[in-house]
């Protein structure tokens, strides 16, 4: 029981419950099934991409180019759908994911083999990929009436009462949970981030791990790109600008250490959901949506302060135990 109370995820769950109670007191309808599903649906893309960011941050890196990867792969998939409406949407989906994977691999190459620090490499590709999105689209948009019904149904369709988008979110979360927790490579991700020197000595390949996590991010961002454009029925050049910061915010909220080495899938999913709840609650409690940005910052900063204070307490506790 004590162990459970000390867990980050549990604290976050309590905070979420507290915020929900506050909202429900004002607006009882907030917790109706329909609304809850809408929030989860709205947050699914953020969850998928944040889980990619999780793996990267655990290695001690960061990917600032995700917004641009989403824009480029979403644009590529939408244009394929626009010009060849007869091609099956599953192929379009695979192409979108493939394009994202390619871009992620490009990041992976310059980071793992070019030894460019992740923040610099992805800061550069943030501009490069965004620029190529403009080149690909020639500045044009792909709008709802230029997309096929089937393409837009990719996220909107229903299966067993949930939208496909939610299913994608669930599947990605489960796969990532299994990957990070139960595979050798997943554990090596934590090893590299926790203590690089020790990890290298026991034979973990840093290059391989870096290559895996940035490519993985490409796959997830490619999937997110297709979902994003199909869901909002528009592929514009500005898709997902600034989204990278939201994914990092979800990770930080979920208790992922920016210095690397720790962070869980469950925490990140909760962190992303928390951001989603705040965004959705604003109009419900009649606050202007213009408050969203500032509020999000306050929440993330508050979570970090709590994090760092509890980490210090934990450290003290461990020290005391050792002294006993």
């Amino acid at each position: 029981m004590k162990e459970l109370l000390r867990k980050r995820e549990f604290t976050l769950l309590v905070i979420i419950a507290f915020v929900l109670v506050l909202i429900v007191i004002r607006v009882p309808a907030f917790l109706e099934m329909e609304n809850v599903l809408r929030i989860v649906n709205d947050t699914s893309i953020l969850i998928m991409v944040s889980l990619g960011q999780l793996a990267i941050i655990v290695t001690g890196g960061i990917d600032l180019s995700v917004g641009s990867i989403i824009a480029f792969s979403g644009m590529a998939a939408s244009m394929l759908n626009q010009y060849h409406p007869d091609i099956s949407v599953f192929i379009v989906l695979l192409v979108g994911i493939g394009v994202g994977t390619g871009l992620g691999m490009f990041n992976a190459l310059i980071i793992a083999f070019g030894k460019v620090p992740p923040i610099i490499a992805t800061l550069g590709t943030l501009s490069v990929f965004r620029g190529f999105t403009f080149v690909l689209s020639k500045g044009q948009w792909v709008t709802a009436h230029e997309m096929t019904e089937k393409y837009m149904n990719l996220p909107h369709g229903h299966f067993l009462g949930l939208t496909n988008l939610i299913w994608f979110g669930i599947i990605v979360s489960l796969l990532m949970y299994g990957f990070m927790r139960y595979t050798r490579t997943g554990r090596e991700v934590y090893a590299i981030g926790g203590n690089k020197t020790a990890a290298l000595f026991v034979g973990v390949s840093e290059k391989k791990i870096q290559f895996v996590v940035y490519t993985l991010m490409g796959i997830l961002a490619g999937l997110a790109g297709v979902m994003w454009t199909a869901r909002f029925a528009a592929a514009v050049n500005e898709t997902a600008i600034g989204f990278e910061l939201q994914t990092v915010a979800a990770c930080v909220l979920g208790g992922v250490s920016i210095a690397g080495g720790s962070g869980t899938v469950v925490g990140v999913v909760l962190g992303a959901l928390f951001l989603g709840i705040i965004t959705n609650a604003l109009p419900v409690v009649k606050l202007s949506p213009f408050y969203q940005m500032g509020l999000q910052g306050v929440v993330v900063l508050g979570a970090m302060v709590v994090n760092s204070l509890s980490a210090k307490r934990e450290e003290k506790r461990l020290l005391e135990r050792r002294l006993d």
Partner: protein, 353 residues
Amino acid sequence: MAEYKKSLVDTSRLVRDRTTKSRIVDFITRWEFIIFALIVFEVIVFSNLTPYFLDTFNLLNTTFNFSEKAILALPMIFIILCGDIDISVAAIIALSSFTMGFAAAHGAGTGTLIIVGLLSGLAAGLFNGVFVAILGMPSIAVTLATQSIFRGIPQAILEDQAYTHYPEGFGYFGQGYIGNSMLPFEFFLFLVLAVITGFVIHKTTYGRKLYAIGNSATASKFSGIPVRRIRMINFALTGLFAGIAAILLTSRIGSTRPNIALGYELEAITLVVLGGVSITGGKGNIFGVILAVFLLGYLKFGMALLNMSAKIMIITTGALLIVAVLIPEFISIRKKKNKLKKQKKDENTEEVA
């Protein structure tokens, strides 16, 4: 535990630095040369392609387009030398610009506006500093959160509106020239600030301490360097400089919207890194950064003269940033290979002997 972990990481970095010390020295002397050569190349190419490039008035006037970002890059050198980063600078500009607009809307004069702009920048910088330097939280996460707070304030209050009324004399800072010359005030201010920054970095103990902290914060702490205070000052200075940039930018465009200076933080960081300052801290100098300001500024100017679209410029900037970090890496790999070869040769000859 965290302390123990940190010291391990730091030692590994020290070891690496020792084995590659000669490489770093070589690289620093070489890096400014590469950028300088690129500038010369750029000037030759553009002046051959268009007659409007090598024109004193044009060359001076285009500094309006990059002076504010260049001013942001100066204190960012301090921050990055210490191994930190500040991604909230653009948001601080938005906040400062907002407070100035608010003051102007309530009838403040030019002098008051300047004070308001500088103070709100400084306050925002101190706010960052409290979390990073005193509470010891990672700078990238802190400034990520504070940037949405700083920009969130004008967004919540201004919504989709804008402040557009500023007092008469306020326009000088962003639009005026020094006396009757062709030298823009903004650019002149950048040069002055750059000289001061360069002096502080290379000629004072404060500057030496920045390098020490960047190389090993733990070792610096144990040798009596007030690490907390220095990091605090760095963030405060960055806020102050962002306040200066906010005054110039607001004065130049004459309006304040919540999305003012969007993306400036990335450009400022690009300038610093392109200038050869290592993102992991402890390496770099001011000359590289100043050269990078001109390289990028005139690259954009030349491309604009040739009617190249903004997207090509975006791609070029990003690619330049990556290549700038890749080149020294390749040089060092080749050097290492040569060294290994030489070592092998020596061993072989020894065996023969």
